[in-house]
Amino acid sequence: MLSTLYAVLFYVATVVMIVGTGMKVFKYARTPAPLKIPVSPAPRTKRGVWFRMFKEVAFFQSLFKSNKWIWIFAVLFHAGMLLVLLRHFRYFTQPVWWWVELIQPIGVYASFAMLIGVGGLLIRRIVVPRIRYISDPSDYLMLILFLGITITGMGMKFVMPVDILAVKQFFLGLMRFQIHQLPADPAILIHLGLVAFLMIIFPISKLMHAPGVFFAPSRTQVDNAREFRHLSAWANQLPPLPEGIPEEGEG
């Protein structure tokens, strides 16, 4: 019964996350940018823009320049999460891919980085008056959600191991549309429940910053307005303005 419930939950969560995010991304991509608004100095070539975006996505370059504390916590959190996620591939692959085996030891400790990152961001949100001022309940809850996922995950790894082989069987089964028994251990149930919830709210929350960063014209546009005429479809449909100079203008 519990296994069926979680199976359905994960199918729904996966569909919502992929379809919802896909629809949003499609909408971003379809929405025109009427003007060239790269924040300069900006690259003059497409290649330059790729490099700029790589630095932003891989190293959080702008954040590094603007706030070192947020940058440190954000990097610990995101890089930690990336490694932890990659490590999780071992629960979806049989045999486990070689590179997943390779990062296994780092992946385990990356959870500490993630914990420090989320914790740091949450503490800043509470103690720095400027950031507290701009925070809504959802901003705290989002961090608490990540904190819950991290702590339950670490608990299962370091404190109270669960029957991880059974969990793996459950997910391998889901991937083949079969429902296997999920261990009724509170830690894994909370962990998975929170993850499914996160996946479901992904497309309707600020987590959309992840795809959004690739659609911000201020960073992704090439600085070549003088060389190439940029014209959006709707601007092209505007009624033409009159040619020539009206008489009274000449005085």
Partner: protein, 517 residues
Amino acid sequence: MAPNDMSAKITSNSIDDAFKIPQLECGAMADTNTFAAAPEHNEPLGFPGELIDNWQEVAIAKMGELAEKNRAFQVYLDACVKCGACTDKCHYFLGTSDPKNMPVARQDLLRSVYRRYYTFAGKYFPWLVGARDLTREVLDEWYTYYHQCSQCRRCSVACPYGIDTAEISMAAREILDTVGMGQKYCNEIITKLKKTGNNLGLNPKALRATLEDLEEDLEDETGIAVKLPLDVKGADILLITPSADFFAEPHIDGLLGYAKVFHAAGVSWTISSYASEAANFGMFIGSYENMREVSWRIRQAAKDLGVKRIVFGECGHAWRVGYSFLNTLAGPFDFLDQNYPIPQHIMEFTSDAIDDGILKIDKSRNDEFVMTYHDSCNVARGSAMGRKEGGQFDLPRKVLQAVCNHFHDMEQDTIRENTFCCGGGGGLLTDDLMDLRIKGAKPRMTALQQVTKDHGVTHMAAICAICKTQFSKVMPKYGYEMDDIMSVHQLVANAVILDGQETEEDDAPQAAATEEK
């Protein structure tokens, strides 16, 4: 003011840290409101004269329309994670302590409403995501705080996603205009421009008289007939310059500088009375249509006069529109000479002239000035110059250092792409916002005081009409004289020696000799 006086005046403990983050003072600027536009200034722009009855419905619909038509607006409203990296970057926040002047808080004034009507979370769980209904109070709050943003983009540089408050601010002003809540300063000026071709409302006759006076001044100074041509058909270059260059100080001295450079380069050029304005206030109010209409005049003037090139004078926001938008709004400029950038900035022209050795320069004529350079926000972060990335920072400095012996930059975090706005940009250069302007200038003024103390800097140069006007008004509040702000081309004008020009050095011995007799 001599360098020594200034250093004596500013002691180390009297200079604030330019980045000192103030304690939050909620509502500190809530009562600072710019004058509302009268119906006769809203209607010519295509907006209702005054607040319409169904403003709520229209404003919400307009917000949705803008999200459909502008990717930046839509993505920026979604992507913010409230990390807080921008919170200490706005000069108006640093100067006023009002938390609603923190960039993200300013965006949230609108984002909260957008969420309420256009997002799942905001529709069903408004308390969770801070979503709120669009009420009259909210509308008034928009009017107040979106007119305390100079659209300088400093926050966008700080944002990990490049979220640009200027875009939100422009959208908010367009929504306000759409329901009949325009701002007097911007809308009156655009109305004037549509009538006369410039923001001042100077008619062609007055413009011609002004230019003739300036020609006389130039001839008195140099002994050479340097021309300031108006409406000359068949000239090579059409100069598009802010109308402040025709009457305000130190703007005029910059105009004389362009004239000398053009004269020395031996090119034929002209000003147009029909397009006698570089500034495009359509950008400030976020109106594509108005911005397009204003830009269109430049195209028509260029065609009518049969010029081959367009050169822009020193004007910050104008150069953003010129560099980044003109081709979009009024292009394609296939009838101009394609061997030159379209449009070109006067700084690019002068820089090339220096490289080509066309200008005869005596740097010592600027020896009384110890200079620094203020990067104007919209030039710095909304445009470029020259062939290399960052040319908008390097070219003006190169030109300055080619004409002055004494130059020192301000602190790195306050110049180039991190430059502070002068405090008067984006449609706020109006007396009814003087309090905001003085407070908003504080970070820039603090950085200036620092170089005055460290290097004896006496003067600051800028290439924006708004910066120049703003600084000449607010610098006296910070211990400087109003003429301590200069045009870059004013310094060029001082140092350039035209062929056949009588120089003081030549005069001096003769004069001395005469006196002895």
